[in-house]
Homo-oligomer: 245 residues x 6
Amino acid sequence: MTPTPTSLPDTPPILAFGAHPDDIEFGCGGVIAQETRAGRGAHFVVCSRGEAATHGQPGQRVAEAQRAAALLRATIEFVELDGDSHLEVRAAHAITLAGVLRRVRPGIVLAPSPVENQHPDHSRLGRLVCDAARLARFGGVRELTAAPPHGIAQLLFYALTREAEPGNISPVLIDHSRPEIVAAWVAAMEAHASQTSARNYVEVQLTRARLHGLGAAVEYATALFPADPLVFTSLSGLGRGARGF
Amino acid sequence: MTPTPTSLPDTPPILAFGAHPDDIEFGCGGVIAQETRAGRGAHFVVCSRGEAATHGQPGQRVAEAQRAAALLRATIEFVELDGDSHLEVRAAHAITLAGVLRRVRPGIVLAPSPVENQHPDHSRLGRLVCDAARLARFGGVRELTAAPPHGIAQLLFYALTREAEPGNISPVLIDHSRPEIVAAWVAAMEAHASQTSARNYVEVQLTRARLHGLGAAVEYATALFPADPLVFTSLSGLGRGARGF
Amino acid sequence: MTPTPTSLPDTPPILAFGAHPDDIEFGCGGVIAQETRAGRGAHFVVCSRGEAATHGQPGQRVAEAQRAAALLRATIEFVELDGDSHLEVRAAHAITLAGVLRRVRPGIVLAPSPVENQHPDHSRLGRLVCDAARLARFGGVRELTAAPPHGIAQLLFYALTREAEPGNISPVLIDHSRPEIVAAWVAAMEAHASQTSARNYVEVQLTRARLHGLGAAVEYATALFPADPLVFTSLSGLGRGARGF
Amino acid sequence: MTPTPTSLPDTPPILAFGAHPDDIEFGCGGVIAQETRAGRGAHFVVCSRGEAATHGQPGQRVAEAQRAAALLRATIEFVELDGDSHLEVRAAHAITLAGVLRRVRPGIVLAPSPVENQHPDHSRLGRLVCDAARLARFGGVRELTAAPPHGIAQLLFYALTREAEPGNISPVLIDHSRPEIVAAWVAAMEAHASQTSARNYVEVQLTRARLHGLGAAVEYATALFPADPLVFTSLSGLGRGARGF
Amino acid sequence: MTPTPTSLPDTPPILAFGAHPDDIEFGCGGVIAQETRAGRGAHFVVCSRGEAATHGQPGQRVAEAQRAAALLRATIEFVELDGDSHLEVRAAHAITLAGVLRRVRPGIVLAPSPVENQHPDHSRLGRLVCDAARLARFGGVRELTAAPPHGIAQLLFYALTREAEPGNISPVLIDHSRPEIVAAWVAAMEAHASQTSARNYVEVQLTRARLHGLGAAVEYATALFPADPLVFTSLSGLGRGARGF
Amino acid sequence: MTPTPTSLPDTPPILAFGAHPDDIEFGCGGVIAQETRAGRGAHFVVCSRGEAATHGQPGQRVAEAQRAAALLRATIEFVELDGDSHLEVRAAHAITLAGVLRRVRPGIVLAPSPVENQHPDHSRLGRLVCDAARLARFGGVRELTAAPPHGIAQLLFYALTREAEPGNISPVLIDHSRPEIVAAWVAAMEAHASQTSARNYVEVQLTRARLHGLGAAVEYATALFPADPLVFTSLSGLGRGARGF
């Protein structure tokens, strides 16, 4: 019954967490669109139905999220923790999310930044996913015995606003400039019509991505923040630095 | 007359700067050994003859550096700036080094960290190379008209001691665990016999590399610090994170 | 029944939060005294009765706080969360405080710094008020439907000790040097006789305010830490910088 | 012979420093346009003729700067220090700039951020102006006896790129959203045709200002970074915080 | 029934907290060995039985911890909070630990760093001990009336991995180079055979201690991080700085 | 001819550097008074004659410094570098100061903080002394062959204003509360009558020392900032932490 994302053979899927139905799309939808169009699987875990927002009812918001995920070619599921605007950092939640990690068994995991911004749920979910990625590896957690331990490849934080960009982690910039990628991203954001009709959220994200792109001498880029040092076996793997200006 | 490193066709060489004859080997020799054994060219620019050190005479130290470079399969040249222990951050020096960049036209550049540690020359050379990498791109610098402008791909800082590891840049860990790489690195460090006979410098670096390796679940790794955000076009390019412990 | 502070027509009141009966007075009483003497309304919300302190019984401490608030010309109410020395960061508390924000509808809000100092309740209340100021704006929080959403103008943190001064926020210094303001502040602090008879808390705060004053070339100043960037429409609004020494 | 900016009676002029002919316009031209249209005087001090740039000859660049200053209703002068791309942090330069401060006697001073970004001259000029603002106050500096000591009201740093925004100073956001202000700013940037024809510098700055504006719930804003804590005598002077999202 | 560590007359014992049965030994066992061999008492408080670990059953792990404590000449007790991998920062836990502090009445307290590393329990216990050390001093906490208030001399954080070393506290290095101390430390770590048979934890800690030792020009040293500034009455009390390289 | 401070047999003297004639007294005079009254020798090296100050002529200022040094029972010498307000960070200066270190052969060295504050000379001298302490150890610096290499025990920074207190080094607090020590310190500060008659510098320093004292539960304390980690062989050497409030 739980969705199983399809991916390239032998490529573990990407798993993205969001506190509200639109967080993943606004925070890293351009990256997701690019990955899925390259044949990698992506799965979204949304941890509330957005029921505390000023605009939009839960049912509408769930439908918007499902449509947006489809536009990004990702599967989606909803996990109830404490509810919108009520999220707390509890061990039980981290264990619940670790259970998701063991079930989906992703390579790369995307989560909101643990730095506080305009909504308290964002940073708390970031901390919970961080803990979950650790707990998923421990063999003796009694609630998690249904699936074998799983170690992810990378935990990358996305930031929904500039304030949430961690000051103590160097960003990596993901160039997703191709017009069809940008179009898919915008479509996924606009699928959240209950939100975008009231505020210029889409412009905020496009402006941020354009600014990161200008710094990297490309059209559009999203900054992601690796929770751990990147490991390479060759300097050529580092590509190039953002020395646009 | 100036040495021209050989590299894979169409692969720009790696260029490494050191303030003293042994800095490159001790700071990032394991990385260099791995790169050159993979067929990439490397060139060393050493900015003093180590004449202020407690041990070793300049002639001996130059010879040691030449031997170490050969062991790492790198070419080497010496550039006189202010002399050992006399280095200052001057525009003229940055321009001199920018001239080297335009001549060698490297992709990746390695320089000592601009964070102060036990020798004032280290951080100053780091700053000078940082400036040089910028000036090399400007078309109108009158002293640099002999060669066309050149933009490098990446500037990576290495740290000779833990104190010099920049606290505001996330490291990337370069795994160079293969026994023949470690052996080549150790041999290059031990080529500086005037230094290693008096102090346990080799142990310091091996201990640091082992500790970074343990963090990355490999044998030996060197931490490098990118001056600019890394740019990728796919999440799969990020490899995996150092989640060993 | 809940107190309603009086203010200048069309000027929203200042709302100050404290974890214990004396925190507001010791942390920003000089600022409050100056504001109320300029005709602005101020309201205090105290989140425990100080029942875990070494000195003073809850009844006495409440009476002291009421007297101190009167000396500062502020109204006061007590909100029970977890009790003195038992405060936790819970969503329910943030929602309770958001309800207070919707009722009082302040412009400027003062709260203890979210940086840990000698009492764990201080930083936790700071975080709760930070969350509350966000939740008060969201239209769909079910517990908050009794009053319409409210967006505050500013959230400013005060610090009860130097350790609690946030290192990552630039302070603004509020000059409150006029003798009658200093006198009112000292009187309000001394109203907490159960505390000041045992320790030199008043001297601590006067010394801090004098040191901030010396830096600003005035007699006494209190450092406040804005949670968000200040927005101005003219450089003349920035006044002058603290360049006393 | 040296230009004397006209200002409101009794209002000291704004003084802005730039390392190259276009730095002031690109870094804080929107703020300047708004200030001068409100009747305040502004004077620009440009410390090179841009002779090291890839595009544009010195004569052309000086003319562009003069035209841009006129569009911003500012007076302008050129001060020769070490020349473009050759600037060093020398006491003699700080004293030269202190002499300018004593002559112009500004209230608010704008200078490039002392944080390194893509051009080494920027941060060095920021440090020099910082020192100059201090030296201008000392009565005994022998080179400065031609004019009496002068203490400025504020030193504010502007950032030409996001990298140069100081991480250890909280920004203030200057809202300059009025269409005629934005138009004047764009015109002043475009007056530097030698630069804007080759790179999208104007878009970079408008994107940054739009992003800061979105954060402050206005159209366009520029972030400035006060060198010293701001001093206020009333909380109402702080205006409102940037809590747009 | 609760163990009472023996110490030098008039010397309060050292109290060390660990989240899991092996944390104290791996994090600061070398320091403990040296202190107890100098005649000072040490007591361990372990806050889980390691029941969530991949290797080792709770009964076995408790026995290993008891054996390790004996090798370090320390007494040991177990305190149940939320269980391994389930620890939360709750006021009730801080009060429980404050009760331990009042009972044992230590001078120096050792706790895991409050900086997150690979196990979420570590940093949470660090925060809880930090709070406990404060609450133990307050006279009115109703749950703590069984024993009089107690103020500790120092709270020192230890780090189980390099990531957990706090970046905002300067370390002090404890030189514990004597061979018999190193041997006792290694024996205590190896007493946790359930853990060391599966992973090279002992090597990690010896490598870290050797690296700190090389920096201090000694054989082995452990970095500890004081929660508060150190207070001295003479500069000679500061000993020497780590200027080995 | 060069002064040779007398000290306890086998105790190397303390060496303090100041950029201006009054810097040492204002920055760490209380510490010096306490050390010399305990029988340790102290020597002052002053690097200008204060000739750029608003108040006081060089001759008068030198005389004041000599009198203040005598009150603190320290010897004093003047070293000319670039002159007051003209100091630059040059290798030649660092070598000059290294020569002083080799001649005086101190244990503990005190220097102004390398963090910028209201006078640019302060931080530059701090950096120069930092470099000098390193160069003094290198055997091959040709200008330094007159005396054998010398390694100091500790480099401690003092801060003349709060802004200069380094944010990245944990302070140690030196308790110098005894009335006769405070009196000697005040007398030494007041010996600089040319400065204290015009500004309340003495009050600034006493207020700072009182605030540090209140934090440490003593009367007066000075915060010093060790350039390197402190090394201890016993936890008992750490004394107690500043947990006054």
